[in-house]
Structure formats: C-alpha cells, structure tokens
Symmetry: C2
Subunit: 362 residues, 2 copies
C-alpha cells in the first residue's frame, strides 16, 4: 500500500514516510492519499477487520472497534444505536488512537503528545501505555476531575492549561525530537482509524444507512465517516454517502455558524467533551455536511439533559456529550428530516461510567 500526505489547503504532496501532523509548507491540515485501495475483510472482529484499507500495521491494540449496533424504537420509529462508548477506553477516540499510536511507533516515536478535553487524552494515554511508550497530555484545567485522574493512572504525564485552546498551543510548543504530536483534530492518521466506523456500519447493516447522527466538535468522527463512506463509494460498495447530521453544543457550534451564520449564545456546560472553538479542519467539515446533504443542529443544555436521562433510563450508559446526538435525532424527526422507512444510525460516542460521580446531582 503506497501512501502520500496531501495538504488540503495548498495541495503540497509528499510520500508518507515520516511523521507529519500538518503541512510543512503552509501549516494546513493534511489528508492521506492511498494508492489502489482494496477491501478484503479479515476474520478479526475489531477495527483491524478492515486492515486492508488502513495504512498502518496493528502495532498496538486494546480490542478497539466492532462495537454493538442495537435496534431501538425512538419516537415510534425504528432506529439504530451504535455503541461506540463500549470501546476499550470508553470512547470512539480509540479507533483513531489505535491507528495513530501504531503509526507513531512505526515511525520510531518514544513519546506521544496530545491535547484534549478528556476522552482523547485518556485514549492516547491508554494506547501509549499499551505500547510501552511515554505520553504527555495537555488538558484544560476545568476538564472533569475523574478524566484527569484516569489519565494520570494510565501513567501519562498530565499538564493542565488555562483553556482548551491553550492546551493545544502548549502541546505543540512542547514537542521535542523523537516525540510525536498526535493532535487528533489535525492528525491524518487518526482519521484513518475513525473512518473504519463507516466500513463497520456497512458490514453490520449489510447496506449503508440513509442518515447518521453524531456529536461533533473537532470533527474527527464526522471526517472519519466522510472519508470512509467516500472510499466505499469509490470502491463501488455503496451508491451514495449517507446524510451526515452533526449535533453541536450551544456556544461551541463553529460548524453551525460556518454553514448557517452567527449563533453566539451562552455556552452549554454539560457537553464537556465537545468544547472546541476553532477546529482546524472546519472547511472539510463544511464539505462533509454539504456534500452529504446533511445538516448541523445546535443543542442546549436542557435538551441534552433530557436526552441523557432518557438514554440512561433505557440502559444506555453514555456521557452527556453523547446524548446530544439523540437530541439531534429528536429535532430531525420533529422537523421531518428523516423518512419513515429510512435507516437512521445514532452514534453514541462516550461512556457514562466516567460520570458516575456527578450522576447523583442530576
């Protein structure tokens, strides 16, 4: 498999033979171009079932991927729930981490560096631990205490920054030779992990869904789905890309603003995993929404809280930020954006077990 980096901004192209997380010419986000893609399913029932389309070897794995796809009835309609919160560290981020950390190891890194609002930090810390290399994780100081403790317990060095944006700046500045900056919001290898979700949905459903609803902040899941479904289209395995619906938290709805205009409101507090203000891949995210004929939905804390309680009371132990996708579903259903016979998948991205200390307060 031959692989190139290509800058999504200036078009600069170079062989992917060393670790890059952004364009060395213009600083833009990089895509990965894979020569003569072919899909051969392996016998495995994890992310590496799709090894033939992943440009990395499974150097480190914790059993990521192949999460349950469950049938549920919401608002009287049959719907699918994809339980990404059952990944090894409790979030879909494990797909990206498994591939990105495997690749960093392949390129000889002795340390991985990440900035995160929590889940990506936990995930990268766990994969670094599994790989036996060091991890240095920068988080905003108001990240949930439990998530910070877990990152430390996984053996990573944890550094608290004054804000989410500051965590990113400090992480990038800190990187020394031999260290690989993951930066999941930038990293093209990370998206090669999250793209497997598209392949997996096809594998589990037997056909592509009509619509997928997902929480969105930095866009790693949205773009993974976009890449994956487009690859499936180019392979002739599906006829069209499903409509991608991004649910965003009020106050952190940069994608909504970019598509529908300004929407500055009081920031939501419950969706702590979605607090990204300037996603570097925003232009690509806009394309994924527009070209898939999808849309963006902005969700308030009140709506999110209602969805969170609803999911818990049906046995789905998700985190608040995940419940936002159900709020998106409700809005779409109420406004007749979803056909009665359409196959709709709601992605439940993160585990509520990380939040049991605050559950007594809701």
């Amino acid at each position: 498999m031959k692989v190139w980096y290509r800058c999504s901004r200036c078009g600069y192209t170079t062989e992917a033979s060393s670790w890059l997380w952004r364009c060395p010419k213009c600083g833009g986000p990089l895509d990965l171009i894979i020569d003569s893609l072919k899909l051969t399913l392996s016998e495995r029932r994890d992310l590496w079932r799709f090894s033939s389309v992943i440009p990395a070897r499974p150097v480190v794995t914790l059993g990521e991927g192949y999460t349950p796809l469950i049938n549920a009835s919401f608002l009287g309609k049959n719907t699918y729930l994809k339980l990404e919160y059952l990944n090894p560290t409790g979030s879909f981020k494990d797909r990206g981490s498994a591939v990105a950390v495997s690749k960093a190891l392949e390129f000889g890194a002795n340390t991985v560096v990440e900035d995160s609002s929590g889940n990506a930090g936990i995930s990268i810390a766990a994969y670094a631990a599994a790989a036996g290399i060091r991890a240095r994780i920068y988080v905003p100081k108001d990240a949930p205490e439990g998530k910070k403790s877990l990152i430390r317990s996984l053996g990573a060095e944890l550094i608290e920054a004054s804000s989410r944006a500051e965590a990113g700046r400090l992480a990038i500045e800190s990187v020394r030779p031999g260290e690989a900056y993951i930066g999941h919001a930038w990293n093209p290898w990370f998206l090669q992990g999250t793209k497997t979700l598209a392949y997996e949905l096809l594998d589990q459903l037997g056909h592509a869904p009509d619509a997928v609803i997902l929480p969105t902040s930095a866009g790693t899941l949205l773009l993974g789905l976009w890449i994956g479904f487009n690859e499936l289209l180019s392979l002739g395995l599906i006829n069209k890309v499903p409509r991608l619906y991004a649910a965003q938290a009020q106050g952190f709805a940069s994608l909504y603003e970019k598509i529908h205009g300004d929407y500055v409101r009081e920031p939501a507090r419950l969706a702590d995993a979605l607090r990204v203000s300037n996603p570097p891949r925003i232009e690509q995210m806009v394309k994924a929404i527009r070209w898939s004929n999808g849309d963006v939905l902005v969700i308030t804390d009140d709506e999110l809280l209602q969805s969170w309680k609803f999911l818990l009371r049906r046995g789905f132990i998700v985190e608040p930020s995940s419940a936002i996708a159900l709020s998106g579903y409700v809005k779409l259903r109420e406004n007749n954006y979803l056909g009665d016979d359409e196959d709709v998948v709601i992605i439940l991205t993160g585990s509520g077990l990380k939040y049991i200390d605050i559950m007594s307060k809701i």
Copy 2:
C-alpha cells in the same frame, strides 16, 4: 428446546415453565437441564451467537458478549486477556442479566428484584430499563457511591441495607406476585448467560485454553465456565475442561476455606465487588475447582493494588476486583502451576471507569 429445573441438593425435578430461583422443596440451588443440546453458531457477534444452547429468547439485549480477547506478555510469557469489562454496563454480569431478565419477561414479570455489591445491581437495573420494566435493587450501604448513583440514574429503586447479607435477606422478603427475584448467586438462568463465556473462548481461540484465571465471590462466573465447558465436552467439541483457578479476596475466601481449611484474616477492602461471605452454590464451586484440577488463590489488598496499577499502566482500565485475577496469575506462574506452552486466559471482569473518582487516591 425442552428445559427442566433440577435441585442440586435434593434432586427434585420439574419442567422450567415458570420462574423459580431455588428449589421449592428443599430451598437448594437449582440447575437447568437441557434436552438434546446442539450448537449452531449464529451470525451475530454478541452473546446470542450461542442462542442454540441458551434456553431463552433474546427479549432484551444491550450488545452483551463477544468482548475482545487480547494477547499480552506477562512475566515473559504469552497470555490472553478476556476483556469482559467492555460489556454494556462494564462487567461480565451483563451475560447473566441479559438471559435472566429476558427469561423473567418471558414468564411475565413486571419487576425484577436483585441484591448486589454493585455491578450486578447496575447490570440488572440497565436490562430492566432496556426492557421497560421496574427494578428494585438492594445494596450494602457501604457500596461505592458511584455505583449507587448509577443504579438510581438507570431508573431503579435503590434500597441500602446494613450489610451485603442483609441486602440479600431484604430482597428475598420483599418479592411480591408478578415480581421476579433474580438473586444472581442463586439464579439458574443467570448461569445460562455466563456459560456463554466458555463457548466464546472456544470460538475466539479456535481451541479450549489450558487454564482460566478469574475473580470469584458468589461463583456466577466460575459456575458459568464450568457449565459451558462441560457442555462443550459433552458435545465432543473439546477434550477436557480447562483448569479453573479462582482468585479470592482475603477475608472473603469462602471457597479457599472450603477446599484448604480455615483462612480467617483481616478482610481486604479494595475488592468491593467480591465481598460475598456465604455463596449458596459453594458445593458446586468446590466441584468446579476440584474436577477441573484447578485451585483457589487468596489475594491481599497489597497484591491486588500492585496488579491494578500494573494493568492500568498497560492501558487496561479495570476495577480493583478484576485485578485480583492478575495477582492469581502471578502466584500460579511463580509456583510453576502454568506450563510454558499452555494457553492461559485471565478474565478481566469489571470496568475501572466506575472508579475514576478514587484513582487520584492510589
């Protein structure tokens, strides 16, 4: 599939056409006898892949079973880790709950009643929620706060008792017509869920392992494995039952005492999920250990803490009670109970995400 209850104590046998959790004649634990067992694997990749040997329909499911089996090197030897903590509510208990709650529904129950040190309560609460019936859960008042909050958030009624034993007494006394007492330590249907782990290990490995090491308190996992492997033996699919090694927490080592004599020591505190003093199926547990040529190991808090930290620092986010199985492995390896070429599986039973609030204190 024709199914009978048979009392393991007095031999009383009756058709399994209504809900029983213990013998109506002598109060002993019931076994389920299945007529003309046949194994046909379904296409599903969850517990119901083994539907042909489960005497219940999948009335309620949250995606339980088919958890990852990971290769790891411990003490310089290749070993398998079975990640049961990635089940839907974060413990292997979900196997038993899915089958037991499905069966309770089939028999018309409107409420399930359970007593638990935490994980079984969470699991039963979640499956009741998914099924749309009520759950009433009795826990000792010193169960972890997070676990209690989660049980409430899942919509169950939570009742705190003065001790683990008192929780059991209160639960049993409380049961009214139309309600099904699960009582996982007693319940024969619950074991029909946990037995699938034996089938799954065979399915994933391609052959039976030589030895399985697992945390043990009430014996639901030990007996599930014992039943499952014996069924596989009777089906001619394996040649012998793997040696079953039960790791118990100091002070709650009733199985060890029964086999090796008295062992009264200061109770361990960290293994909160393993605090059962008088398991009702103790005679069967003794047989499972003896007849499989296995053994029982008693683990101290210090040993457990070391194993817990070790697993976390390799990216396995388990709860303290799960780490006890690794401590058992270390003792077995050090004392040459495990052959160099043997396939050894360590079962990691519960999720550490339920403990992130206490991780900062270790």
